[in-house]
């Protein structure tokens, strides 16, 4: 019995590597974290949710809107799904300024576009970077802009593929706190994937642990991460 308004079930087999992914998740408003080692299928699951990959079978329903249903032959391409997606690399468009990057996905009147862009840049503290190009930004600034761009369209779901990789603890914490205010206000489901236990401690909430393309266990972060307590403490001390 599926109760939540957002749900993603994906089955996919890569013929070249024989890797099989069979994952199903209820996506609650707020943070949902997919945790597992590299190569366990986290990114594949996210790409299937955004529509960048068409899985062999499954169902992706977000806010009661069906984006993919293999049984009914429904597949919406990524541009027709209102999802926000931030990958490991920020993928900012180098020929556009920060402001133009944030406004890229907006289909509003010029005045509304300008207003929404300013609001997003404010939220992520990057208004002072508005006229800069991506190659003039630090890694943390690039991630802020990528997040502002992803949520400027007010997506129905936000998908984060280890977007804080390579950032130090404090910077990650600062960006997360900016994002948190939007998540709390919008009650949008956020699906973040990570293999970093410290990062997951920061993200918190509902954690699903996967390995080799299948769910191992699922529950509150404190329960799922309990076996990693020593490692987390060592990392935090260091």
């Amino acid at each position: 019995m599926i109760e939540s308004r957002s749900y993603a079930a994906v089955s996919h087999r890569f013929a070249s590597s024989n890797f099989e992914l069979h994952l199903a998740l209820d996506l609650i408003p707020g943070w949902n974290v997919l945790f597992g080692p590299s190569g366990s299928g986290k990114t594949t699951f996210l790409r299937a949710a955004t529509g960048l990959l068409r899985p062999d079978s499954g169902l992706v329903r977000v806010d009661d809107e069906v984006w993919f249903d293999s049984e009914r032959g429904i597949f919406l391409p990524p541009e027709r799904r209102n999802s926000g997606y931030v990958a490991q690399r920020p993928a900012l468009f180098p020929h556009l300024t920060v402001e133009e990057n944030v406004a890229f996905g907006l289909r509003l009147t010029p005045a509304d576009t300008s207003h929404r862009t300013a609001e997003m840049m404010d939220l992520f503290h990057c208004s002072h970077l508005a006229s800069r190009r991506p190659d003039e930004l630090s890694g943390g600034e690039q991630q802020r802009v990528a997040l502002a761009r992803a949520i400027a369209r007010r997506p129905k779901i936000l998908l984060l593929d280890e977007p804080f990789r390579g950032l130090d603890f404090e910077l990650r914490d600062a960006i997360l706190s900016d994002l948190e205010s939007w998540v709390a206000a919008s009650r949008t489901p956020v699906l973040a994937v990570s293999h970093d236990v410290v990062e997951i401690c920061q993200l918190g909430a509902q954690v699903t642990r996967i390995a080799a393309g299948r769910v191992v266990d699922s529950g509150p972060a404190a329960t799922i991460l309990a076996p990693y307590r020593e490692r987390i403490l060592r990392r935090l001390e260091s």
Binding site: P77, P78, E79, R153
Partner: protein, 220 residues
Amino acid sequence: MDFEALGVTLRLAIVTTLILLVVAMPLAWWLAHGRSRWRAAVELLTTLPLVLPPTVLGFYLLWLLGPLSAPGLVLTRWIGHPLTFTFNGLVIGSVIYSLPFAVQPLRAGFSSVPLDWLDTAATLGANARQRFWRIVLPSSRLAIAGAGALVFVHTVGEFGVVLMLGGNIPGATRTLSLVVYDQVQDFRYAAANLTSLLLVAISLLGLLAIYVLRMRGRRD
């Protein structure tokens, strides 16, 4: 100075460049990012004019576009006259002859556009056409300009295909490189030198444009 031939040469180079940029862009994109098993075969075919003697290419085009071949006969009946020894026929020949000079730099430019930019643009609501206009084109502008300059210079200097397919008709298919040939045949070396210097100047300008674009590309 044969200004009529200069006019034909420039017109041929401009028309060929414009047609090739339009034709070669989707082809180069497909070669850069397509997954078809036919890709290698198509790449081989598009590169062939680079190594084929121009007279051989000109001979086959003369046969293909003339009334002696079945496609040429159909074409002749359709448009009312053969395409051989006309400016339009010359344009077709130049487009085929210069195809690799457009496809190769465009393909290199398109290959350097990271696919995650396009994926991100798609998740931001951009469809395939918008992704091409808003991401691929601006990111590849130097490669496109470089391909245009290369095709232009190459077409200006064309000889074998022009001679075989065009027939050296003044005002219609006679280009500057044919004028040099005729002037040398008539022992008019001073005039041949002047025409050649003009071709050298055009080629140098084209190469300078390509060099400047490459420098800008490295700086960016």
